[in-house]
């Protein structure tokens, strides 16, 4: 098994406040890993470290064998240039809690933007692929709608299609259903399940225990900036070893 994400003693501080206090974990290619835990436990921060939206303060983090944000020469680390960071990020898709669709572009425009301007694909080819992706997330008929005209669930599905348009080898989901009306959560989770079944490597920060149980290969429970326990969904959700996990699950289940 090749490790898609590998973290060794990852720490992150915002000034005096330490949010991550030494994270060790591994996600293999083709696996779905769900990060669970209370608010403020550092799950989202860790996810954001993986594509260098946050800079790690200590420890090492690799994505597909490449050190995140740095190049190692001998025993010294050299910061990567913005251009190099951008190149690494191309291969990592990210879906945000608040969708963050580009409001001045249509659904189709949102999906085509990066393939055309980052990968320099010909417009016609990018358009074909974008339409196919919108069809895959069930929004073929909304291609020409602006984000403001779409429901939350539809916006999030466009956001997933937008990330997939870069043909990522890894998809990161930062609480993708937390900003949705309860009745719209299902349509987004369906797309994510479909993606997981397709063999996409995914790291998902979520409060959806049902999704974690069905779709995850590994569940990681975090609290206070550390990993409390890791295991299969059956083990962590069904038979947690730690009191802290048990207390959390008792509240959310």
């Amino acid at each position: 098994m090749t490790a898609m994400i590998r973290a060794e003693g990852v720490r992150k501080s915002f000034g005096q406040l330490e949010v991550l206090s030494g994270i060790d974990l591994q996600v293999n290619a083709g696996e779905v890993c769900c990060l669970l835990g209370p608010s403020g436990s550092g799950k989202s921060t860790f996810l954001r470290c993986v594509n260098h939206l946050e800079t790690v303060t200590a420890g090492r983090l690799w994505v597909d064998g490449d050190l995140v944000g740095y190049r190692q020469r001998g025993d010294r680390l050299h910061e990567l240039r913005e251009r190099e960071v951008a190149e690494r990020r191309r291969d990592i898709g990210m879906v945000f809690q608040r969708f963050n669709l580009f409001p001045h572009l249509t659904a189709l425009g949102n999906v085509m933007e990066a393939p055309v301007h980052v990968l320099r694909e010909p417009k016609a080819a990018a358009r074909q692929r974008a339409l196919a992706l919108l069809d895959r997330v069930g929004l073929a008929d909304k291609a020409h709608a602006y984000p403001a005209m779409l429901s939350g669930g539809q916006q999030q599905r466009v956001a997933i299609a937008r990330a997939l348009a870069m043909r990522p080898k890894l998809m990161l989901f930062d609480e993708p259903t937390s900003a949705l009306d309860p009745e719209l959560v299902g349509e987004v989770l369906d797309v994510m399940r479909d993606l997981a079944a397709d063999g996409m490597t995914m790291m998902v920060v979520t409060h959806e225990m049902g999704f974690a149980r069905e779709a995850a290969d590994t569940v990681v429970f975090m609290d206070g900036g550390v990993v409390v326990e890791t295991g299969t969904p059956e083990q962590v959700l069904g038979d947690p070893r730690h009191d802290r996990t048990r207390a959390f699950l008792a509240k959310v289940l």
């Binding site: 990210m94 945000f96 001045h104 301007h117 937008r162 990330a163």
Partner: protein, 289 residues
């Protein structure tokens, strides 16, 4: 229970006595001002009519419009550049942009215009050399460069850059931070993100104040008359200095400025509606009734 729909309400509307009182007062005031102006022996309405479309006036209007257009184009381009510099991670760019804005916002436009008009007195020759050598890339007498509308254009554009920079910076900062993150997560570099994602969204915030800047600029061009800037104001001043018909000629200038500003206001209304699409309805009705 009755299934009839209730008949529409026929209520006596509130009487707005205040509106009638206001109307009477405004009419009275307008009559007073109007009759005072028309009774002046120096307004000479026929002279205004005579000069309104004279060649030298039209030539002045043309220069005024040209100055406004060039200064706004250069000012906006420079303003965007300065705004991006001020928000850059590079401390050298950040500080130099801030110093530029500080200087050009901190001195009166009139002073800047006169200064550029008399630049030859400060620097007799404009020379650009290769650093630490005597090899000149550019070397001309200042008064040969600062001809025609050049000093006026320089002063107006540099001043406008400073103001435009602040407006553009505000517009960029108004765009949600999530937009930058989403663009970066897609592998877009900072420059591309700014051009394709941030600036188009900032336009909605930038457009209304920039419309005001165009209108302000059109009127500010009158200041270049102090260095004989060939604009509308210079044109009428030159003539009334000879024939002493000061009031009618000033009225000619005022009529032109008002007409041009009115046209620009209409354009501004359409531009704002275009950029505000989908955000809020631009309907009538004031805040007060």
């Amino acid at each position: 229970m009755t299934t009839d729909t209730p008949s529409p309400i026929k209520a006596v509307p509130v009487r707005h006595h205040g509106r009638w009182i206001a109307a009477v007062l405004v009419l009275l005031l307008a009559y007073q001002i109007g009759s005072a102006l028309l009774s002046s022996p120096n307004l000479e309405p026929h002279t205004i009519g005579e000069y309104l479309f004279k060649d030298f006036v039209l030539e002045g209007v043309r220069t005024t419009l040209l100055l406004t257009a060039i200064a706004m184009l250069l000012g906006t381009a420079g303003g965007v550049l300065l705004a991006v510099m001020r928000l850059s991670a590079n401390p050298v760019l950040r500080v130099s942009a801030a110093v530029f804005v500080w200087f050009f916002r901190g001195t009166p436009l009139l002073v800047q215009i006169v200064f550029f008009g008399f630049l030859g007195a400060l620097l007799p020759r404009l020379t650009v050399t290769v650093p630490f050598t005597d090899i000149a890339i550019f070397d001309q007498p200042t008064n040969a460069v600062m001809v025609g509308i050049v000093p006026a254009v320089l002063a107006l554009s540099l001043n406008e850059m400073a103001y435009a920079a602040e407006i553009v910076r505000g517009g960029i900062l108004a765009v949600d931070k999530g937009q930058t993150e989403a663009a970066h997560a897609l592998g877009m570099k900072p420059g591309l993100t700014m051009r394709r994602i941030i600036l188009p969204q900032a336009m909605r915030v930038i457009a209304p104040p920039m419309g005001n800047e165009v209108i302000t600029m059109l009127k500010s061009t009158a200041l270049v008359s102090v260095i004989a800037g060939r604009d509308l104001m210079t044109a009428v001043q030159t003539v009334y200095a000879q024939n002493y018909k000061v009031i009618p000629l000033l009225a000619v200038a005022a009529i032109w400025y008002l007409a041009l500003v009115s046209v620009l206001s209409v354009v501004q209304w359409f531009v704002e509606r275009r950029f505000g699409r989908g955000h809020r309805a631009t309907s009538g009705g004031g805040m007060f009734r």
